[in-house]
Symmetry: C2
């Protein structure tokens, strides 16, 4: 179940993208599985269908989702995820690590965080 946080300053479609991305990446939704339809999810969240459509459209351009007009939207292959997305994440990780180091954080502490990020299969 997806819920929105209206105190979050980010636009709704960004929150949606992040939640869906996480569900897909965590395996909560399997490859090829059908996502809720634009109108259904809009009704469920009480927001406008255009906003859902935008989130789906952008997730599609990043490779997390593919849509077929008349049929629906579906979870894509993780192999198909845009390389640009990965570069973006590496840059984010490097930036956060750099500032933490400059603030005096120990290298080992950061490595522990990396190990904490390991998916438990």
């Amino acid at each position: 179940m997806i819920t929105l946080n209206y105190r979050d300053p980010r636009p709704i479609y960004e929150q949606l993208k992040e939640k869906l991305r996480r569900m897909i990446l965590s395996g909560a939704m399997a490859e090829g599985e059908k996502l809720p339809s634009v109108r259904e999810l809009a009704s469920q969240l009480t927001i406008n269908p255009n906003t859902i459509a935008r989130a789906y459209r952008e997730l599609e351009s990043e490779g997390f989702v593919y849509s077929i007009s008349g049929r629906g939207s579906f979870v894509g292959s993780l192999n198909g995820v845009d390389e640009g997305r990965k570069q973006q994440l590496r840059a984010q990780l490097l930036a956060a690590a750099t500032e933490l180091r400059q603030l005096g954080e120990d290298e080992q502490t950061l490595i522990s965080l990396i190990k904490e990020a390991t998916p438990h299969d």
Copy 2:
């Protein structure tokens, strides 16, 4: 010298905060050093003084800067940086690392990124 990128979708005051934060953290500006005055920097960047003031105000609330009315704004002590800022950075690092791992990135690759983030004294 600070330059602004008007293609960047982030607000100007956010770009400013990031640039100043980096200069402070990298040691390009020493603790206690005077920052350009609100009006001077505004004139230099051809933007409104209010926008500079907002960046300074928020950096002050995070502990990177302190301001004295009538005197100016100055680089704060890195020990004084808000703990909330560090927690934010740790969360960012963890989120990026988690998604990268789920996208198939190797743990060693991420650890290499951490080591890359080590400041070279």
